[in-house]
C-alpha cells in the first residue's frame, strides 16, 4: 500500500514530464526528474530531533535509532519501513518447534567501517554483553536469553522461555552487532557494518553519513546523506523552498499548499506508530473513577483533532494500525458530550478542575482543543507547559500529574500497559497476564490474538485516551527517489535514497 503511494508519485512525475515533452514537438526533451540517479549525489534531509550523543549502546531515544540503525549499525535481522522482519547480518534463520532455539547463519565477508572483519564471535559477544550490561538500552529485552554460541558461521541463541517479541527486539537496539573489544569513542564516533560511515557530526547542526565502499551488500545509492537538524517547521520549509533541502521529514501538513505551489516537492504521507497519548493519573483523585476517565474520552472530538493537525487518523486503543494486535476500537469511546456529562454526574464529579502537563516542544493546537472540548462538559483544564527534563522528573519519574500528553513514537510498545509502575499508572493484572501469554506464544497468530484481547481491555478500562495516530508526512524533492514513507520518525533507512542531477 505504502510502496504503491511512492510508486504512484514517481509515475505521476514521469507522466507530467512526458506531457511536457509532448507539448513541445521538435524540441529535444527537457531535463526532468526522470534523469538517471547521480551516484555522486549528496542529499540533505531535514530532521527535527538531534541526539545528545551518538552512543547507541547507552543513550535512549528515537533520534539515534532513526539515523544509525540500518545505515551505520546492523543486527542479525532488520525491519522494513512496513515493520516486517527481514534478514540482515544473518542470511537466514530457523526457530525450533518449542520456540526456544534460534539458529542464525551469519553472512560472510562482512567488515566493520575500520576494516576489521565481522566474526560470529562478535555476534556472541555483542548479544551477551548487551544482556549483561544493565545500563545499555533495552538490555532487559534480552534477559530471557540463556545462551549464545557460535559454530562456524552459525550462531545459536537459546531462550529460557519462548518469546514472540524476540526477533523484533533483535531488529532494534538490543540486536546491534559491535566489534568485540573495539576502542571506539561511541559518544562521538561509530564503527558499524552498515552501508554508511559516520563522516561528520557538527553538534547542534548536522550529521553526515558517507557511502561505505567496503559494504558487504548492495551499496548505498547516494554518495552522501546529510541530516540537518532544523526544529522550526516554517524555517525548514523556507530552506526547502530556497533549494537547501531535498527531503523534509516531520513536515507540517498545514503548510502543504505553500510547498506544493512551488512544484519542486511532492508530499508523501505514510503511516506511523506515533500515538498521541493522553495519560490519566488513575492511582488516586477523580481520575481513579473509570467513569470520569471514560467521560473525558467521550468529551473529546477526535476527528476534529485529526483535522486540526492536518494528518494521521483516529486511534481508540493502545495499539496503532501498523502494529500486531490492532483492531478498530472506535465503538468503545464515541464522541458524545451528552454521555460524558451524564457519566460525570453519575460519578459526582461536576465542576472538575484538572491540570494537563505537556512538554513545551509540542504545538499549542492539542491543548487548545482539549481545553475547549473539556470545558463543554464542565471540566476546567489548566495547561502546564514544561520543558522535557521537567516532564521526565514530574510526570515520568514522580507520577505527579493529572493528565499528560506525549507523542509515543515507539513501535510495539504495548508492554507499558502491562507494567503498573510505568507513568501511565494503569494496573490490571488480567492485562499483565495476557501480555505475558502473548510474549510466551509460539505462533504469531496466537501472540497477536492475545495482544488484541489485552488492548481491548485497556481501552474498555479507559486506561488513557489516544488523541490520534500520527502520520509520517515527508516533503520530497521531485529529483529524489527511494525515500521510505512509513514511520520515518523512528527508523529511516536511507541506503536506497538517490538523487538525479536534474
Amino acid at each position: 500500500m505504502l510502496r504503491r503511494t511512492s510508486l504512484a508519485v514517481t509515475a505521476l512525475v514521469a507522466a507530467a514530464a512526458l506531457t511536457l515533452t509532448a507539448c513541445s514537438p521538435g524540441s529535444s526533451p527537457a531535463p526532468t526528474a526522470t534523469g538517471a540517479p547521480d551516484p555522486d549525489a549528496s542529499i540533505s534531509v531535514r530532521l527535527v530531533l538531534e541526539p545528545g550523543n551518538l552512543d547507541i549502546r547507552q543513550t535512549s531515544g528515537a533520534a539515534l535509532d532513526q539515523i544509525l540503525i540500518d545505515n551505520v549499525y546492523q543486527g542479525l535481522v532488520a525491519r522494513t519501513a512496513d515493520q516486517e522482519i527481514v534478514p540482515s547480518l544473518a542470511s537466514d534463520w530457523t526457530v525450533s518447534e518449542d520456540g526456544l532455539t534460534y539458529t542464525f547463519t551469519v553472512q560472510e565477508g562482512v567488515t566493520f567501517h575500520d576494516g576489521q572483519e565481522l566474526t560470529p564471535q562478535d555476534v556472541v559477544w555483542s548479544l551477551t554483553q548487551h544482556r549483561d550490561t544493565a545500563e545499555w538500552v533495552d538490555a532487559d529485552t534480552l534477559a530471557n536469553v540463556s545462551g549464545v554460541a557460535a559454530d562456524g558461521q552459525t550462531v545459536t541463541v537459546t531462550l529460557a522461555a519462548p518469546d514472540s517479541q524476540f526477533l523484533w527486539n533483535l531488529s532494534g537496539r538490543a540486536g546491534i552487532v559491535l566489534k568485540e573489544g573495539d576502542a571506539v569513542d561511541y559518544k562521538t564516533a561509530a564503527n558499524g557494518t552498515g552501508p554508511f560511515v559516520l563522516e561528520n557530526w557538527t553538534q547542534g547542526d548536522s550529521i553526515t553519513l558517507a557511502r561505505y565502499d567496503g559494504y558487504w551488500g548492495e551499496p548505498a545509492a547516494a554518495a552522501e546523506v546529510a541530516f540537518e537538524y532544523i526544529p522550526d517547521n516554517q524555517a525548514a520549509m523556507n530552506a526547502a523552498l530556497a533549494g537547501e533541502l531535498d527531503v523534509v521529514t516531520g513536515f507540517d501538513p498545514n503548510l502543504r499548499s505553500q510547498i506544493e505551489a512551488n512544484g519542486d516537492f511532492v508530499l508523501v504521507v505514510g503511516e506511523s506508530t506515533d500515538k498521541g497519548t493522553l495519560a490519566f493519573n488513575q492511582t488516586s483523585g477523580p481520575l481513579e473513577d473509570k467513569r470520569v476517565r471514560q467521560a473525558i474520552r467521550q468529551a473529546i472530538d477526535h476527528d476534529a483533532i485529526v483535522e486540526a493537525i492536518g494528518g494521521g487518523q483516529t486511534q481508540y486503543g493502545p495499539i496503532p494500525s501498523l502494529d500486531p494486535g490492532y483492531e478498530d476500537l472506535s465503538a468503545l469511546a464515541p464522541y458524545d458530550p451528552e454521555a460524558a456529562m451524564a457519566l460525570l454526574e453519575e460519578a459526582g464529579a461536576e465542576d472538575l478542575e484538572l491540570t494537563l502537563t505537556i512538554p513545551s516542544f509540542y504545538s499549542t493546537t492539542i491543548p487548545q482543543l482539549l481545553v475547549s472540548d473539556l470545558n463543554k462538559v464542565g471540566i476546567t483544564l489548566k495547561v502546564d507547559s514544561v520543558d522535557f527534563p521537567t516532564w521526565l522528573q514530574d510526570v515520568y519519574t514522580n507520577k505527579d500529574y493529572d493528565l499528560s500528553f506525549v507523542l509515543h513514537t515507539e513501535a510495539r510498545d504495548f508492554e507499558n500497559w502491562a507494567n503498573p509502575d510505568y507513568y501511565f499508572t494503569y494496573a490490571n493484572p488480567e492485562v499483565t497476564e495476557l501480555y505475558a501469554q502473548s510474549r510466551a506464544a509460539t505462533s504469531d497468530e496466537e501472540a497477536d490474538r492475545l495482544l488484541a484481547e489485552a488492548a481491548r481491555i485497556v481501552s474498555e478500562d479507559a486506561g488513557a485516551d489516544w488523541l490520534y495516530n500520527g502520520a509520517s508526512v515527508v516533503a520530497v524533492s521531485t529529483l529524489v527517489q527511494g525515500m521510505p514513507s512509513a514511520n520515518v520518525n523512528e527508523r529511516l533507512n536511507v541506503s536506497g535514497l538517490s538523487k538525479s542531477d536534474g
Binding site: D232, A235, Q393
Partner: protein, 316 residues
C-alpha cells in the same frame, strides 16, 4: 590611571566569582537531570541510578563546585556530560560562528545608525529627519524573529541570492559561503540594533548642537553643520562608545534567537540545546565564558572612555 585600572580589575574578578556561584546554584534549581534523559522513557530506576553514578552526579554540591572552579582557574572549563568533549573546544568551535555574526551585525548597525542618526538630528523638524526618526522607531519595535523571516522570504526564497539557513559544513575553509550564510542573520540583528542605536545617536547629536562650544564655533563663521561635525561629533562618539558595551551584550542575547531561527551552529544555539539536555557542566562553562566576555567588554569600554575623555581623568 594605574590605580584606577587595578581597582577596576579587582572589581572584574570579584564580579566573575560572584557570577560563578550564581550560575552554579541557579542551574542546580532546575528540575530533571541528564541521567534520566540518557536513559529515556523505557528505563528502570536502577538504570538511571547506574548512569547517574557513572557521571558522578551524586557527589555533594560543594565538592562539584570546588572541582569546577578549580578547573576554571587552571584554564579547564570541564567536559560535556553527554559527549565527553571539552567545553572549551566546543566554545571555540561555536565562537567561529557567533563572533563573526556579532561583529558583522555591529558593523551593519553602526553603518546604518551613525550617518542616519546625525542626518536626522540636523534635519530635525523637516521631512527627511522626521521620516528617518519614524522609521527608526518602527524598526526598533519590530520583533527580531519576524524581521528575520521577512528577510528570508525576500532574499532567500524569492530572489535566491542568499542561503535561508545553516552554516557551510566546511566552515571558514570556504570563506565566501561562510560570509554569505551570515549576511541575513547579521542584517536581522543589525537592523534592529541599528534602529535603537540610531535613536541614541540622534539625541546625543541634538544635545551636542545645543552645547555652548558648538554655538561658539558657529559664531566664528562656521555653518551649524560644520561646527557640529568638527567640534560636536567627537563628543557624540564618546557617548556612543559607552553605549556600545551594552549593544554588544544585546547582540549576544540576540544571537540566541537568531541562531535558532537561521539554524546556525553558534554559541546561542548550543546554550539552548545544552540547557534542555541538562548538560550542566557545559552550560556552566558557557555561561561563565559569556559573562566574562560581557564583563571584560565593560572593563575595556571604561578604560577607553577614561583614556580618551580628558574631563574624566581630571576628576580623579
Amino acid at each position: 590611571m594605574i590605580r584606577y585600572t587595578l581597582t577596576r580589575l579587582a572589581l572584574l574578578v570579584l564580579g566573575l566569582v560572584v557570577a560563578s556561584v550564581i550560575i552554579f546554584l541557579t542551574l542546580r534549581v532546575l528540575p530533571g537531570d541528564v541521567a534520566q534523559l540518557i536513559a529515556g522513557t523505557n528505563s528502570t530506576p536502577e538504570q538511571v541510578a547506574g548512569i547517574r553514578d557513572q557521571l558522578g552526579l551524586d557527589r555533594p554540591l560543594p565538592a562539584q563546585y570546588a572541582e569546577w572552579i578549580g578547573g576554571v582557574v587552571r584554564g579547564d572549563l570541564g567536559r560535556s556530560l553527554l559527549t565527553g568533549t571539552p567545553v572549551s573546544d566546543e566554545l571555540w568551535q561555536k565562537a567561529q560562528v557567533t563572533v563573526p555574526l556579532g561583529v558583522l551585525a555591529l558593523v551593519i548597525a553602526l553603518l546604518l545608525s551613525a550617518p542616519l542618526g546625525v542626518y536626522s538630528a540636523l534635519r530635525r523638524g523637516r521631512a527627511g529627519g522626521t521620516a528617518v526618526g519614524v522609521a527608526a522607531q518602527a524598526f526598533a519595535a519590530v520583533p527580531v524573529v519576524w524581521a528575520g523571516m521577512m528577510l528570508v522570504v525576500v532574499f532567500a526564497v524569492w530572489l535566491a541570492w542568499l542561503p535561508a539557513q545553516g552554516f557551510p559544513r566546511a566552515g571558514w575553509s570556504d570563506p565566501v559561503a561562510a560570509v554569505r550564510s551570515l549576511i541575513l542573520p547579521a542584517l536581522t540583528i543589525g537592523v534592529v540594533e541599528g534602529a535603537m542605536l540610531l535613536r541614541f545617536i540622534r539625541s546625543a547629536t541634538l544635545q551636542a548642537i545645543g552645547q555652548d562650544y558648538v554655538r561658539t564655533a558657529a559664531a566664528t563663521g562656521l555653518t551649524r553643520t560644520q561646527a557640529l561635525l568638527r567640534h560636536g561629533l567627537p563628543n557624540v562618539g564618546l557617548s556612543v562608545v559607552s553605549v556600545l558595551g551594552l549593544q554588544i551584550a544585546g547582540i549576544v542575547v540576540g544571537a540566541v534567537v537568531i541562531e535558532q531561527l537561521f539554524s546556525l551552529p553558534g554559541i546561542g544555539r548550543m546554550l539552548v540545546a545544552d540547557v534542555s539536555a541538562r548538560d550542566l557542566p557545559k552550560v556552566q562553562g558557557e555561561l561563565l565564558a559569556l559573562t566574562a566576555f560581557v564583563l571584560i567588554i565593560g572593563f575595556v569600554v571604561d578604560l577607553v572612555h577614561r583614556a580618551i575623555d580628558p574631563r574624566q581623568r581630571e576628576a580623579t
